[in-house]
Symmetry: C2
Subunit: 351 residues, 2 copies
């Protein structure tokens, strides 16, 4: 899922986002779902306004699916001051210091008023480095909030969104196990692993994923929140995960860090000044089809907005294309071979 | 002509620029020509590189026409330090202080190496407020440089670009008259009025245009450089001018100042926060077809790059559409009525 923080996938118009689709034997593959942030949207433009305007789909003119996070992660990572109580979290906006409150009921109400297709249960996302006791206490709060999220009444007359639960438990295998059992016993439509990629090492992260995945419900989508690099996605798919969101393709694009089939390209580097070749000769995105590395470098070093747009088109396309190939290889029982070939090309040519 | 300063029309990919075309009874109307700045391109990425890369068309993947200015205007408005001599101008780059030289021969050489379709003669553009004597001296230099521009040898084997002369003369009617006669007597493919919109009042500007236009060659395109607002364009067309370039649609878009058929909209204003209507209900651009004023305001106040893209799409479309209607009304002998209706709608509803 490309991340559309505040109602737009950074740097792209909705039409450009839709144009990242391809037609493969009649089947549209492309961005079928994006993620929006409850925290950002509730602060600006605000939920009352968004509901009056017909919800996020209409607001951004996007007729495909939207998943919203619960707001929890941003409250714990962005908000200026926050007070966590049993009933919910009081916090001040990082934009203007205004006071706000989120609880399981409030979060579900907001997400259903946004008109999204998949809502997330409201959780507490503990920072990395907390003691086992602190993580356990936080996890138990997340479990109580999960029950309340499920029981929260729908706020609109429309069909309510699907609701995913979030398992926490930090880097502690026994806590992860308990959290997955607890959340798995509730009537959610899917299950997410939260509290991942929050500061732990890559090894710790995959220890958690490999511990967690076999315990997760086999008949529901498994969503790994906030991950990750192309290599991470392949490893996580190998571990059994289905869904991902990450700001990396859009954020890196704005920093000139571009993903290619032979490794990362830092487009501002002088070596690309005279490079007439496409960014990635294996790629068929608009940027790779129409302009050179030399042009992309020129736009980037000149601070041209169009450079950010080309970069974003490429990076998001690269991720979508990777996941398309993953799905194809799974369908043809050749995922392991695909993964190995992809990783070996990355490693072999990595600059 | 939309302005593509450094090889991109600000905020737009080349594909987005091309998508601003419409099909009217089989005839494509849209951006058929853009302007690029010799000064900017010679400093970055540099002419040797651009020539190696196959010229500006290929660099930016643009297969329609390009007009380049001569570099003169930017040397006189942007360069850090400059020394004007009979043979040319020595100046320091505003980017890194590096030393450069432009002369009629050098400018024509560069423009032909860029591979553009229309090149401009190298002129001196005097700032507003100079004495008649100073403007006259500068004009005479421009005339000598014009002759040298015409005589400059082509730098490439390709067919050389068409070459337009530039008449100067400031706000002094007799100087303008002399300059037009002088430049008009030379074998240029078109004639431009330079030194316009450089600080003089609107009244002075139109005094110059109205004095100049009847004296300009009737069988060659007449290009009014650096103008202007939609009202200015209509008035200048009424005075007999054919071609224009201006950064206003792209620059204003980035500042949230949007042109509509009922006047300017400053999209950041709170009054648009809840406004579900399109930016301009008379407009059929992508922004007006797909999103609301509320969304455009939200993107702008949130600092979303997509907001700049939507704004630019709209403003450039507005200008192109205005000129399309101008051409249609001229063809159907109803320009005066069209102009009156357009201006009266602007004035009536202007905020």
């Amino acid at each position: 899922m490309p991340v559309g923080t505040a109602g737009s996938v950074k740097s792209l118009t909705t039409e450009q986002l839709k144009a990242l689709s391809t037609q493969d034997s009649g089947l549209r593959t492309g961005p079928e779902i994006i993620l929006c942030n409850t925290y950002h949207l509730m602060l600006r433009p605000g939920i009352d306004l968004l509901q009056r305007l017909g919800g996020v789909h209409r607001f951004m003119s996007w007729d495909r699916a939207i998943l919203s996070d619960s707001g929890g992660f941003q409250v714990f990572s962005l908000a200026a001051i926050r007070k966590v109580r049993e009933d919910g979290v009081e916090f001040r906006s990082h934009l203007d210091g205004s006071l706000h409150f989120l609880s399981p009921e409030k979060s579900i109400e907001i997400q259903s008023r946004l008109g999204v297709d998949i809502a997330m249960a409201f959780d507490e996302c503990p920072t990395y480095g907390l003691s086992r006791d602190d993580v356990e206490r936080s996890m138990q709060l997340t479990h109580r909030w999960a029950k309340r999220s499920l029981a929260a009444p729908p706020a609109t007359r429309h069909p309510p969104p699907a609701l995913f639960g979030i398992a926490q438990g930090g880097v502690y295998p026994d806590l992860r196990k308990r959290s997955i059992e607890e959340i798995g016993s509730m009537d959610f439509d899917g299950m997410a692993l939260g509290g991942i990629a929050v500061g732990e090492t890559k090894e710790q992260m995959f220890d958690v994923i490999n511990t967690a995945s076999p315990l997760m419900p086999r008949d529901k989508p498994r969503y790994l929140m906030g991950v990750g690099t192309p290599e991470d996605l392949l490893d996580a798919v190998a571990a059994g995960m289905d869904m991902f969101d990450c700001v990396m393709p859009t954020r890196n694009a704005r920093n000139g860090s571009l993903f290619t089939s032979s490794g990362k390209v830092h487009i501002k580097n002088a070596q690309y000044a005279d490079d007439q070749g496409p960014l990635d000769s294996d790629c068929t995105c608009l940027a790779c089809r129409t302009v050179s590395r030399a042009y992309l470098r020129h736009l980037f070093v000149s601070g041209e907005i169009a450079g950010l747009v080309y970069n974003t088109i490429h990076n998001v396309w690269f991720y979508l294309d990777l996941m398309r190939k993953v799905r194809q290889s799974i369908a043809s029982h050749s995922f392991a071979a695909f993964r190995e070939a992809f990783l070996s090309q990355l490693t072999r040519e990595h600059e």
